[in-house]
Symmetry: C2
Amino acid sequence: MDTEITLEQLNNLIVNRRIKDLREFLETINSADFPYIFDNIDDEKEIMIYRLLTKAKATEVFVELDSDEKEKLINCLTDTEIKNVMNEIYMDDAADLIEEMPSNVVKRILTNTKPADRKIINELLKYPDDTAGTLMTTEFIDLKENMTVSEAFKFIKKKGINKETVYNCYVLTIDRKLLGIVDIKDLLIADREQLVKDIMDTNVIKVCTLEDQEEVTKIFDKYDLIAVPVVDNENRLVGIITIDDVIDVIQEETTEDFEKMVGITSTSDNSYFKTSVFTHAKNRILWLLLLMLSATVTGTIILNFENAIATLPILVSFIPMLMDTGGNSGSQSSTLIIRGLATDELTVKDIFKVMWKELRVSLLVGFILALVNAVRIVIQYQDIQIAILVAMTIICIIVSSKLIGGALPIIAKEMNLDPALMASPIITTIVDVLSVLIFFGLATVILKI
Amino acid sequence: MDTEITLEQLNNLIVNRRIKDLREFLETINSADFPYIFDNIDDEKEIMIYRLLTKAKATEVFVELDSDEKEKLINCLTDTEIKNVMNEIYMDDAADLIEEMPSNVVKRILTNTKPADRKIINELLKYPDDTAGTLMTTEFIDLKENMTVSEAFKFIKKKGINKETVYNCYVLTIDRKLLGIVDIKDLLIADREQLVKDIMDTNVIKVCTLEDQEEVTKIFDKYDLIAVPVVDNENRLVGIITIDDVIDVIQEETTEDFEKMVGITSTSDNSYFKTSVFTHAKNRILWLLLLMLSATVTGTIILNFENAIATLPILVSFIPMLMDTGGNSGSQSSTLIIRGLATDELTVKDIFKVMWKELRVSLLVGFILALVNAVRIVIQYQDIQIAILVAMTIICIIVSSKLIGGALPIIAKEMNLDPALMASPIITTIVDVLSVLIFFGLATVILKI
């Protein structure tokens, strides 16, 4: 691994006190590789390395670290060093930092932040969780419509170096309303004397500060954007969201969906190892408990057929297979529908189309599985009646589980619940009840017990 | 919805034959909105609209359409019109098009493609599926190290308009080896007479043509890139991958993971509705069949305890609850681990850390669930022995299912299998067997039956 070699070279340079070479070498390392380096080097060397970085690089590296490392580092830094970080940091990262740190650290950070920036950070912190407002940064290039291309270039050259993204520039009125957008590409190919208003694109795709972050990711995906402007109720530009933050949101939302789909309540975006044993247990127990208690219903139903079991104990041996097949086949359908809803391929209106498709798929799958099972039972037990019973049960279970699995996520969405909740655990519990009811129901009819 | 209004306006303009206004209006609509418009307008109007677009816009719109629409459109276009598309299209989109179309359409497309482009497309089609080579496009800005910034600007102005991304420029030697990268931002803030070699970054993050696409997405995510250069074995630049294609891959890989985790074999990136009933059934039946047959093992084990059931029929009623709880608790663990492996938070080396964490979490969860159940059983049946039996079984099942759920995905990864396969369906089946073994095993000891 490349970072392994980097680490070794770093250690060598430090041990041999070759400070000048060390400083040069550090500048060649990508900021995103520092978290790994800091994890694998002792604290003293870490601080030494950090202090050898240029101001801009030091801030870049700081932002990449996870919150524990950030806290540790802040506690070692002087007030001047913290000031340097807060001068260079982007406002969205600053707001995230304030949210992550314990209050004593927050106090120290804010004391070392310029009053104007402190105000911006406070504004950013006011937006509700998971909205566009919490994702955006307030640094962007704003042009005026009557600038020439040449003036725009000069303006960017003067201001641009501090901006998180300079690939899109935003054209604003005097009261900061968004008029249009200029892609750097268009500036580059335009003639020097052209006016910004003649090359700007006025069909701007923008989002509102309170837009849900999942909707923001969908807009980036659909329109292939690298940044999107965020406006307030009066169409005033208040910030921009850049693609790198959007990718993080996509990953975060996916993890949340995965967790919800197996009945884990996720409380934060903490990692597996950083989440404590107690929190892990707390996140998992609620659904396990609910599902466990619901599953006793299935047991009670079985007890009602005590006589049938006493007459023909072999019936019990089919229960696990029937329950599992129903659960699995229902989960397949619900997962496809949940994913379809998440990627906007399906909408609530499609419910009947989904039902019709699932019906046909389930009949096809059901018949084949029923046949395989019937053949197996005839060979194993030479009992055609039981073979017919199990085969018919399987068809009924697969059809009903696929219809339920297909419908529940859509119904959840219609009721403004998260479709991801209607996944494997709930489907399994519902289908279990159905499975034993269908099985013993058919058994009483076919076997007359 | 905005697109609804657009659609109405379009229909009005067409009905009133206001061709000039229509043409102007079309240019203001984002290319990404055309698939929706074409889906909701009749074919005749579709062709008319398409023909009113400028060459560049027509190609942009064409690329956005799904393969059925593309095929329909090509069959209506003249050879000249196809030539126009193939002159404007990016090479990665061209290669995708050739892969999607039936052979007669492919032939017609290639006849209308320039020989040089045909050669590039053929090269792109040779890369194995899911590698960087299939994602890249061959259009990029290549600078020479001895150019001045001013010359670079002129070069970009001349060539740049046709390039998919101009935000990064690549500095190449005469034999096309990659020397460095210049971000447009750095060009914009540099002085006109500076040389490209003095502002280029030589610590280039790049990928090889055969790199797996999932690794490519991880590199984008880690380093917050908007494009990555793709080099061959001799470090010659052959193409670039842009962020919009990477987001598509992330979504595609996530869908694949979701599908695998419920035992669906995904054969293509087709959508839910476009996949036929037969293909849906085929994709779902394999795992259902395997799991169904495996589940008969659980049944056979239950039959071996026929005497115990005959003595105490109530035992059977606990089986569904125990099996479900085990399955759910194992799936929770395996899902967290699968996701951790997919996002590189966990590696194979972490297996013992994971086991230790799962052990503690499962003991905590197990004790609480056991207690709740014991209380319930004592209240419901006034039978302390059964309460103890069920409580002890639950603890054992939750501990073992969480350990298995935590370990299997990691073991799969070590064996170069996809960890996503070790999800709910397989875990459930394994835990079922364990659950009845533990339950009846403990029953014979505690109840002495």
